[in-house]
Amino acid sequence: MREIKYSKALSEGMVEEMERNKDIFITGISVDYPSGIFGTTTEASKRFGPKRVFDAPAMENALMGIAIGAAAVGKRPIIVSPRADFMFLSFDMLLQLAAKWKYMFGGNGGTVPVVVRMIIGRGWGQGSTHSQSLQSTLAHFPGLTVVMPAFPADAKGLMISALRHNGPVVILEYRTLYDTLGEVPEDSVPVPLGKANIIREGSDVTIVATSFMSYEALHAATELESQGVSAEVVDLRTISPLDEETILNSIKKTGHLVVADTSWELCGVSSEIAALAAEKGFNFLKAPVRRIALAACPAPVSQPLEKAFYPTAATIVKAVMVMLGRSAGNVAHLDRIDNFKGPY
């Protein structure tokens, strides 16, 4: 299969659905710029023009309500936020209206199928207010579907599913993923919402990971293999609703669980998966679970602090080896070269 970039995959997913469904439009700050949100909206902009791909003022609060009001009369808006952090300003409309709409009107109000794309994560010293991963926060609220594609095929497939789903969907895109390559079907193949993906099979330990951490988990699994440990990697893909079955089946097989997430630990996705294991997979577990998350502080800017703040493949390897009662040895060679470039 051909390989394309994550950014291109997102673009294809949107463009193909926009061809199918004329009610889809894209708006948000800078979506019609030549830079086009890491190139993800450029093709749509070219193909569909300013009637369906248009800029918006920085008014995150009302804009989300406007998208919902458009959806209530048949549109399928895609709202893009260049940084998820700005979407705190949309939380009122997103969580009070979009997430509740179908339920609070008892189904009689229809649905509001808004797709919200938010960019998350590490980059060029983004710092505390420009780097947050909001999956844990958003997934807490029933009524929202929350997905985190890690690989190009999922980026396209989840985008397609989101744009066909009968309700609001948040897509969280990790900044450093846009340039990654992967095999992606040329056709419009939806990836089901609510399904995790076993991206590597293994028998000794289950690593459940989200978004960028799925890459780190694969990287860690390769290293673990060289140390004689067979790791199964589950890419969560959808945070809410959670695919409990896939996770539990894997734990059943391996008896060991490490969770690696891009958000914080406290009331975060890593805790959620650990809790699931403690409640429904307890009898499979041979050892305590391990949560791997951001350090419990706001994100610092300075490089040596950033390095200590963000967990990596090395963190995962160490956690697994300790869990299995072995020594991890030197894992410094696992650190990737960080070649993300500014200025933003």
């Binding site: 009001g69 209206l97 109000g109």
Partner: protein, 324 residues
């Protein structure tokens, strides 16, 4: 105003009376404690809903805030649906899930109430955006209280609507208070919402919100331009709430002192129902006996619906997870 026929006047009056009596009956019923949902009565403010909705087409859509019964009924929402909703019954317009502040009736273009200040403005702006994109000749209306203007999102919506010249009408029911806070603690002295709207390039009119003719006239004089792309309009309708902010009580019953008794009384003199009925009589269109018999009919009708609504079944707990 000469284009208002006598028939229209009669039906406007009946509509005002129907809404008034519905809420009055509900307010009495509410005291029994059978309606477990925070409820904001619009008694005294009916002329805004009736005047505005009277100027709308069926394809036009309406959103509103917490004080939503008047708009729901005036747009044609099912009275049974409303009452059963307040009673938490499966037959409610939101199947008992929403309560008084989350009403909907899509069949008549009442797309929803939301009790969070500012929501209705953004929602209507969004529907208007969709109408414009699709070249539909529809208008979206946002009803809200002047308290929503305390929220920044209201100004975001106005700015957006004006920038894109969207077919949206912002209808503010300025009843001088948000809960028990007067305008004076919320806006600088001398504030005019119309002046603000103008500065946001939203055309605006201030009208007597207790005069259904005036409201209707205001809508009629602005809606065609709004519909055909001239941009959004704000109608600031001056009116007054008779009961407590939430719940059925009169000020004296709850010992509320945040507003002077004389103020309330002077606004009750300007009762929109009475004024509309008085006009029918003074214009020779109807007689007091007509008014009385309509009233009796309406009372019967509502009492009837109320009893039926009590008979609507409770939602089955096994349906808790439907429609998430």
């Amino acid at each position: 105003m000469s284009d208002i026929t006598a028939d229209m006047r009669v039906s406007q009056y009946k509509e005002l009376l129907r809404i008034r009596r519905t809420e009055e009956i509900l307010a009495e019923e509410y005291r029994k404690g059978t309606m477990r949902t925070p409820t904001h009565f619009g008694i005294g403010q009916e002329a805004v809903a009736v005047g505005v909705c009277g100027g709308l087409n069926l394809g036009d859509v309406v959103y509103t805030h917490h004080r939503s019964h008047t708009h729901y009924l005036a747009k044609g929402g099912s009275p049974f649906g409303l009452i059963a909703e307040l009673l938490g019954r499966e037959g409610g317009c939101s199947r008992g899930r929403g309560g008084s502040v989350h009403l909907v009736d899509r069949s008549v273009g009442f797309l929803g109430s939301s009790p969070v200040l500012g929501h209705s403005l953004a929602l209507a702006t969004g529907s208007a955006l969709a109408f414009k994109m699709d070249n539909k000749p529809s208008i979206a209306v946002a009803f809200f209280g002047e308290g929503a203007f305390d929220e920044g999102s209201a100004w975001e919506s106005l700015n957006y609507a004006a920038t894109w010249k969207l077919p949206v009408m912002f209808v503010c029911e300025n009843n001088l208070y948000a809960t028990e806070s007067p305008l004076s603690v919320r806006q600088p002295e001398g504030t005019s919402f119309c002046e603000r709207a103008n500065a946001f390039k939203v055309k605006s009119q201030r009208v007597d919100g207790n005069d259904v003719d005036a409201v209707f006239g205001s809508v009629k004089s602005t809606i065609d331009a709004c519909r055909s792309g001239a941009g959004p309009v704000l109608l600031e309708c001056m009116t007054y709430r008779w009961r407590e902010h939430v719940g059925p009580l009169w000020d004296y019953e709850a010992n509320r002192t945040f507003r002077p008794k004389a103020e309330l009384e002077s606004w009750m003199e300007k009762c929109p129902v009475k004024r509309s009925g008085g006009k029918l009589i003074s214009m020779g269109i109807s007689q007091q006996s007509d008014l009385d018999s309509w009233r009796a009919d309406i009372n019967d009708e509502i009492e009837n619906i109320l009893q039926n609504a009590y008979d609507s079944p409770w939602p089955d707990p096994s349906t808790l997870f439907e429609n998430i």
